[in-house]
């Protein structure tokens, strides 16, 4: 048996994230003891109507979220317990709502920092209704082998180590959450473990104090002894002592009290929980409490460390007198399925990767590009073109190469509003479309006729150079197999009206001491084609392509240089239109040649 929480306990959790975390922990316990999840509902108005998925073993349990406690208990009439995880400013209202629900018999409040007055009102209301209000600031309640309310008991491994999967003989009542776990562990190591452990919270006026729970334990035949972990301040330990001393009790009472250090500290210095306050004239001091408990006949070890041996001694006596029998441990216990991450860490599974990357890694404290930390690149003077080199071609390019790329980007960043890309972006911007979509509208234009010839130009020039073709051979090859030469020809520019960007780039690259076989070949091609027609000049795509091939960039990356550079311009156009609050554009009729059939009658549908 146990008290307060058992196999018939079903729970509604009032609150958000913290409540969900508690439900996960509770599900782990339910899984360990092979009962279904005891959390049937959440109450959290902002998410009402949705559900939470709580992991249970290797599966998930769907738990609905309601707006009110009444709705939750209407749909799940087995609910008899509420755990309150609502913020301190709304805890009173939430606690009252739960107490006032006729289905609910136990309300345990986990919320910390609840005003004292509110806690007292809740405690008083529960007493009047004959219900239990536990907390505030409670870590929870756990009955070994039957029910866990809250995160008390800790991680799954600890539940097993502390033998919480089966009943022992010791009841535990603590103000401290962390120490509840410690005592549960001690009981499992020095004796046969616990029946029920209750965190009553460290506030000055816990909703339910030691005495009420001692009464319950006294009436639970499975519980043979109760351990109280007390603190200085208030008088609930004294009341427990009074209860124990009042008449012969079936349960053995053991207790420790903290706060002796207070005797040697500057006066008024306050430690620990809210309730840990010494009163005037030494009442509520650790010594007063410890003496009261001792005088009432409780076993009070001098230190916390001495509690283990004292529990052991009490347990050995119980065994000798036949009051308890050595527990039988189950042959096997469910193991909590590991997450993939944990299982991989333990070398237990192998997972075939879904994708493979060879360029970057962001799993550390900063991104690494081809293995080089970004901050180190910055601090050692590297620039954007080097990052392009690392991510596109997996190599650290030279300063000179970086300078060429920088110039290519600067020359191609924008080409006014009339070109397909910019126009696409501008039309989208004027239609009120957002930045990324508008820029995408511009980028979509990049293709064989606009800006997208760089890759192909590079590919064919490279093919010619690699195969040592003459210009004539190349032109024949192109005409036969592919058509016009990409990178040659311009809508507007011509021999007489040369493209200054091309001149600039060619001039710079030629001024450097580097081999440019591809560029040289492209210029030879231009010499021939421009004679045929004076706008068949080497255009900016072709120039970029030839130079980038000469630097050694892979052919497939070449369009990227145009896309990257032109994105700068497209963003500029979007911001520019946005700044002007431009209106929706509609094409004027006079700009359209309406070549569609004249208006005519629609024949009857056959």
């Amino acid at each position: 048996m146990s008290i307060l929480a058992n196999k018939d306990t079903y729970v509604v959790i009032q609150g958000g994230v913290a409540g969900v975390n508690a439900a996960r922990r509770m599900a782990e316990f339910c899984y360990l003891i092979k009962r279904s999840l005891n959390v049937l509902a959440f109450v959290y108005p902002p998410d009402a109507g949705k559900t939470h998925e709580i992991p249970y073993g290797s599966g998930l349990v769907t738990v609905p979220i309601y707006k009110t406690v009444a709705e939750a208990t209407k749909h799940h009439s087995q609910i008899n317990t509420s755990l309150v995880y609502i913020g301190a400013d709304r805890a009173l209202k939430g606690g009252m709502e739960a107490l006032d629900d006729s289905h609910i018999k136990v309300v345990s409040m986990i919320t910390e920092g609840v005003p004292e007055k509110d806690a007292k009102i809740l405690g008083r209301h529960a007493t009047k209704l004959g219900k239990v209000f536990n907390g505030p600031s409670s870590i929870g309640i756990v009955s070994a082998g039957s029910c866990r309310l809250g995160v008390i008991g800790g991680a799954f491994d600890n539940l097993v180590l502390s033998k919480l999967y089966r009943e022992g003989s010791f009841g535990v009542i603590t103000k401290s959450g962390g120490l509840s776990n410690e005592i549960i562990w001690i009981c499992s190591q020095f004796a046969d473990g616990i029946t029920t452990a209750i965190g009553i919270g460290g506030d000055a006026y816990p909703g339910t104090d030691y005495v009420s729970y001692l009464e319950m334990f006294e009436n639970d035949p499975q519980t043979k002894a109760v351990i109280i972990v007390g603190e200085m301040g208030g008088d609930i330990e004294e009341r427990a002592a009074e209860w124990y001393g009042a008449k012969k009790r079936r349960v053995k009472l053991m207790a420790v009290v903290s706060g002796f250090c207070q005797e040697s500290l500057p006066k008024g210095m306050k430690f620990g929980h809210a309730g840990a306050k010494e009163g005037l004239k030494g009442e509520g001091s650790a010594r007063a409490k410890s003496d009261a408990l001792k005088n009432a006949g409780a076993i009070v070890p001098a230190t916390f460390g001495a509690l283990g041996p004292a529990i052991k001694e009490a347990y050995q006596e119980m065994l000798k007198s036949g009051q308890v029998k050595e527990p039988v441990e189950p042959a096997s216990l469910p193991k909590l399925p590991k997450s993939i991450e944990a299982a991989m860490k333990a070398d237990e599974v192998m997972v075939a990767p879904l994708i493979r990357t060879t360029i970057s890694d962001d799993r550390g404290d900063e991104p690494c590009y081809d293995g080089y930390p970004a901050s180190e690149l910055i601090n050692k003077g590297y620039e954007i073109p080097h990052v392009v080199g690392l991510l596109w071609d997996k190599r650290l390019i030279s300063k000179q190469e970086a300078e060429i790329i920088k110039r290519i980007m600067m020359l191609s960043a924008d080409h006014g509003p009339c070109v397909s890309g910019a126009l696409g972006t501008i039309i989208a911007a004027c239609a009120g479309i957002g930045l990324s979509q508008s820029v995408a509208a511009g980028l979509i234009m990049i293709g064989p006729r606009f800006g997208g010839a760089v890759t192909d130009a590079g590919r064919f020039f490279k093919h010619a150079v690699d195969n040592k073709m003459t210009v004539d051979e190349f032109l024949v090859y192109m005409k036969k197999n592919h058509g016009p030469v990409p990178g040659i020809g311009h809508r507007v520019k011509s021999l007489r009206n040369p493209d200054k960007r091309v001149k600039e780039l060619v001039g710079y690259v030629k001024s450097l001491n580097m081999k440019t076989p591809c560029l040289d070949f492209a210029l030879e091609v231009e010499k021939i084609t421009s004679v045929k027609k004076d706008n068949l000049i080497l255009n900016v795509d072709g120039t970029m392509a030839a130079v980038l091939v000469d630097i050694g960039f892979p052919v497939d990356s070449l369009n990227g240089f145009f896309i990257l550079s032109r994105t700068i311009g497209l963003i500029g156009h979007w911001v520019d239109q946005k700044r002007q609050d431009s209106r929706l554009i509609r094409l004027f009729d006079y700009l359209v040649n309406y070549a569609a059939p004249k208006r005519r009658e629609v024949p009857p549908l056959k």
Binding site: G177, N181, Y205, H273
Partner: protein, 399 residues
Amino acid sequence: MAKVLEGPGMGLMKKWGITVPNYVVVTSVDELTKLGQANEWLKKSKLVVKAHEALGSRFKLGLVKVDLDFKAAEAAAKEMIGRQVGSITVSQVIVSEMIPHKEEYYCAVKSTREGTDILVANCGGIEVESNWERVKRLALEVGQQPSADALEKVAKDAGFTGPLVKKMADFAGKMFACFDSEDAQYLEVNPVVLREQDGELIALDAVTLLDGDAKFRHPDWNFAFAAEFGRAYSKHEMEVMAVDSKIKGSVKFIEIPGGDTAMLPAGGGASVYYSDAVVARGGKLANYAEYSGDPPDWAVEVLTDKVCSLPGIKNIIVGGAIANFTDVVKTFGGIINGFRKAKSEGKLKGVKIWVRRGGPREKEGLDAMRALKDEGFDINVFDRNTPLTDIVDKALQNK
């Protein structure tokens, strides 16, 4: 529990209809001089000047001066403001009107488990402390309001007679209203005096403890809470408090000058058991500290930094029970970063570190601590199989 200085305390009482003497709180003599021109009572009445700080024994320290005219009050203010008392610099004085009186009484309201106690005595000042049996009590249940009859009865029981019965009952009723409405935990007026000129009961001195947790519903609490242990908070304490106020979970830090055993344990409950163990072993605490509720690692790092900065420490106790949901790896990560930083700043020389902990991811966390040995830390790490406070015994066994 949050202590409020006399000025704002009197302000709250005044709000609920309790008569208090005229008073002003000033931070400079100039301010007082200007107020003297604007407030006739400062020139006409005899005055009391008190240091307006969370200091005990102000009388003994000469920080209360009575029966002064305005000139003398200015002189007293000048003398007090800026005075250094221990770690506190007096930055404010409260100047109040002296109330000529013959009789002194006592009234207090305090929170009890069952509800509220109203305490009344027909003696006051130090007399009440030596005659505690003369204090009469009206016990109220949670949510109960005191009736006029009950208040008069307790006044009569306390020995008030004639018109004073009703006056004291009224006074106590207003004290209760203030207590109940302001989320107070303790209100005490000692003495309550009978003003000779008009026979009105006046609250001469106020002790006000409010429930800091209820601040969210009192937007008019525009005053700072005072430190409760007779000294101002130190810079490091305030830094940790600032962190504490903005995180999930908590970090706490109080310095105790002169100690050599530094505390860095987890848990509001366990931390006190650790402190007890140090004292029981004859050690001297250099601080109190505590982190709990799965605080972020950076908050624990700040706390660690302050602990490592304590002067003259020989041992650091990184204790903790078996955590429920505080992640050991994460919180230890904060401590480890703090230790590394301290070491790089030349701290922790000759300091032994003692670790004991359990809880979620305990093995990984303890392994990480153990690895600090390779970095030259003098560190001893124990798991859940070592009883909670045994590390204190080990640390202090050569004492």
